[in-house]
């Protein structure tokens, strides 16, 4: 291939956000290198649609490459909720790599990403509890607290835990927390820094393995993918899939460390969740996991096996690190 192809990526996050600066930009470099400079991806100055539209932007060819959150389009993606359940793991790298592996093994055949060329999947670091009011050491501390959440399983879990869920987009967090409309957020540590919340948040409670997670996709317009040469396609896939999950997961983990440092500097009091609280969360989450397994069954997927495989894979990866 001699002709140069330029692909347009639409990003709904600001250029300095870790996803853009530490995951997309390096990946774009890798694509360029792997294709010997024949595939060039540019990030548009502004998104071509709202965050939830980014799956359709790639499907309809409005943009060539996009990334997004499965949970932003409720009702569309069921199986990807496997990556949203509590206690998955302590590192985004392990979760994301394991996620791609079990996706290929169990979930891909259900074809939930029909209409796009799926390039990669990932999750952020373990989601935790942060608030401006009091240390959370039991479910009683959480009762009635107004928590901003981003949708997906965590929304139902928040309500089940006795808190009041305010479902608003992530960029609204600053407005909600700084004005006191919300008392807290469920976020990975990274987001406390990137949404500038450290000066308002006073308390953090860390749940081992994470309270929740968010499932992301990286996708491409299928016609644009088909138009590339076989060599170019292979080159792109060689730096996507599990390779991307590993690279992005490491970046998430670094961003979480930076978030932790930011909170320490701001004097946020961070504690580990006591055993009773973890037990309480597990009890509330169990029926939700059961409901997911039942729903997955209707799509011909053995959800129970998926979750077991997923957790075993994560444990294996975390142990090997």
């Amino acid at each position: 291939a001699s002709a140069e192809t330029t692909l347009r990526m639409s990003s709904w996050l600001p250029p300095k956000h870790p996803i853009v600066a530490d995951m997309m930009v390096p990946w774009i470099e890798e694509v360029k290198k792997a294709t010997n400079g024949s595939v060039n991806i540019i990030i548009l100055p502004k998104a071509l649609g709202a965050a939830p539209a980014h799956f359709d932007l790639a499907k309809d060819g409005i943009a060539d490459v996009t990334f997004g959150v499965h949970g932003y389009q409720p009702g569309r993606f069921l199986l990807t909720q496997a990556a949203e359940v509590p206690f998955l793991g302590n590192s985004s790298e392990a979760i994301s790599v394991a996620y791609w592996r079990i996706f290929e093994k169990h979930l891909a055949k259900a074809n939930e990403h029909e209409g796009v060329k799926l390039l990669a999947l990932m999750t952020h670091g373990p989601g935790q509890m942060f608030n401006t009011q009091r240390p959370i050491t039991s479910l009683a501390d959480l009762a009635g607290m107004k928590i901003r959440v981003g949708g997906g399983l965590i929304n139902d879990l928040t309500t089940a835990l006795g808190a009041t869920a305010l479902l608003k987009p992530a960029p609204a967090s600053y407005e909600l927390i700084s004005t006191g409309v919300a008392d807290g957020v469920f976020f990975p540590k990274e987001s406390i820094k990137s949404f500038k919340l450290a000066s308002f948040i006073k308390y953090g409670t860390v749940v081992p393995g994470g309270l929740y997670n968010v499932s992301f996709f990286l996708a491409m317009n299928p016609a644009k993918f088909e138009a590339l040469t076989k060599a170019e396609q292979d080159a792109i896939m060689s730096v996507s899939g599990e390779h991307f999950a590993k690279m992005a997961g490491q970046a998430w983990d670094r961003a979480d460390k930076a978030g932790q440092a930011d909170m320490e500097a701001a004097g946020v009091e961070i504690i580990d969740a006591p055993e009773a609280l973890v037990q309480g969360i597990a009890e509330k989450a169990a029926p939700m996991e059961a409901a997911w397994i039942a729903a997955a069954k209707e799509k011909g997927i053995d959800g129970d096996m998926v979750l077991k495989d997923f957790r075993a894979e994560i444990a294996k990866l975390e142990a090997s690190n």
Binding site: P45, D60, G61, I62
Partner: protein, 439 residues
């Protein structure tokens, strides 16, 4: 870059043909995107823009602030504002016009739109200025200019849209508009003084009221104060978000109109319906502008522009001056909402890339620039040949000639340029109040 310039030219031509602005922008955006990216993608683009703009939570602020303004007018709060400012200023030469400007400022504090402010105040202030023998040009000029304050003093629909486009804190933008709005009132009063100094016949003094009557008149203002404190206090005190403030403010204004007995079933229906129609009109423009903005986005014009400016290594304030001049020129022919929607996506990345030394942190630059943009937009509302506030006045008072109104507006336009220079040169006027927030 070149494609973008051709599209801008085509857009202006379509608008000059009297194609509604919303359709002109939509068409230019659709064709441009189709040529550059592909027709199927372009069809999908207009479909997606229409769908997601319709179902956009934060934009619910637009109909609710419009509704608030309509209830407030129905409740008679605009009359009380004018009576009160008249009691203090009316006996001076040009006093009724100054009172008009002050009442416009007050009304702006509870109404999110400049057009609504001008329309309302023209019904309230014009009759008494005529009774006292004011020249039509001064009377109309003070209303058309005073009305522009509606989008600067919070609440403001334009500041909300700017905040959404640049991901700036809307609460801070609202705070930032207050002092520049007061500066605007002072500058406009100066313009009235200048007009009556040049031509004393244009604004004869009215009756002087005693202090007892003045204080009585002042009591009528409490309704406006309550609503303003409700909206801004609620945002500042963490009771609700700026988006929710619109719904709370509209509810408050509704209760005012209800308890004052000014609402009937028929008037309630008219108010709701008119607000809904205005909403549909604004969203048509919004949807068209977003289609055009998507096309501009894929032309790469914003990044090209930023690249060029950075290459030329111009001082930051020279770039700001150039942007302001572009806005003043565009303001001659473009309608305010479309102007903001078209230009902000092009200019704000550029402004963010400028090096102001230690004068601002990045978030403050956008707050300050937002105020500058809103002020140049205010100016566009009274700049010929397409000055929407002038047209609004002409709609309410058809017997006035457009030329008379534009002549009366001239001194106010000059006062606006003075204010603009002040706001550009002294960012603290905009940034002092928001700086007190969120500490």
């Amino acid at each position: 870059m070149f494609d973008a310039l051709i599209a801008f030219a085509a857009l202006l031509a379509l608008i000059a043909l009297r194609l509604p602005i919303a359709f002109a922008m939509g068409l230019a955006g659709f064709v441009g995107f189709g040529v550059l990216i592909g027709w199927d993608a372009s069809l999908a683009m207009v479909r997606n823009v229409t769908y997601e703009t319709g179902l956009h939570y934060t934009l619910s602020i637009v109909p609710l602030f419009i509704l608030m303004g309509n209830f407030v007018t129905r409740a008679g709060l605009s009359d009380e504002l004018y009576t009160a400012s008249n009691a203090f200023l009316g006996h001076r030469r040009g006093g009724l016009a100054m009172a008009t400007v002050v009442a416009c400022g007050g009304f702006s504090a509870i109404c999110g739109s400049s057009l609504a402010t001008a329309a309302t105040m023209s019904k309230v202030a014009m009759p008494s200025m005529r009774r006292y023998g004011y020249s039509d040009s001064l009377a109309a000029g003070s209303i058309a200019a005073g009305g522009t304050l509606g989008i600067l003093i919070p609440p403001s629909v334009i500041l909300v849209l700017y905040g959404l486009m640049t991901e700036s804190d809307i609460g801070k933008l609202f705070m930032a508009g207050i002092l520049p709005g007061i500066v605007g009132v002072i500058c406009y009063m100066g313009a009235v003084r200048y007009t009556v100094f040049r031509n004393p016949e244009s604004g004869p003094p009215g009756d002087r009221l005693g202090w007892r009557d003045r204080l009585r008149a002042l009591r009528g203002v409490w309704g406006v104060l309550v609503l303003f404190v409700l909206v801004m206090g609620g945002i500042y005190g963490g009771v609700f978000t700026p988006t929710e403030a619109a719904g709370v403010g509209a509810s408050g204004a509704f209760l005012f109109a209800l308890f004052r007995g000014t609402l009937t079933w028929a008037s309630l229906r008219t108010i709701l319906r008119e607000s809904a129609e205005t909403t549909a009109m604004i969203f048509s423009i919004l949807i068209g502008a977003l289609m055009f903005a998507n096309f501009i986005n894929v032309t790469g014009m914003p990044s090209d522009l930023t690249g060029w400016i950075n290459e030329m290594e111009l001082p930051a304030y020279a770039v700001i001056a150039m942007i302001v001049i572009v806005y003043l020129l565009l303001g001659c022919v473009l309608e305010s909402l479309s102007m903001i929607l078209l230009t902000v996506p092009v200019f704000y990345p550029l402004v963010l890339s400028l090096d102001f030394g230690t004068a601002f942190d990045p978030q403050s630059v956008l707050i300050w620039f937002g105020i500058v943009v809103v002020v140049v937009t205010e100016i566009s509302l009274i700049t010929p040949p397409v000055g929407l506030n002038v047209f609004v006045l002409k709609g309410v008072l058809p017997e006035l000639s457009t030329r008379t109104i534009f002549r009366g507006v001239m001194p106010f336009w000059c006062a606006d340029i003075v204010r603009l220079s002040l706001l550009v040169g002294v960012p603290a006027i905009s940034l002092y109040l928001p700086g007190l927030m969120g500490r």
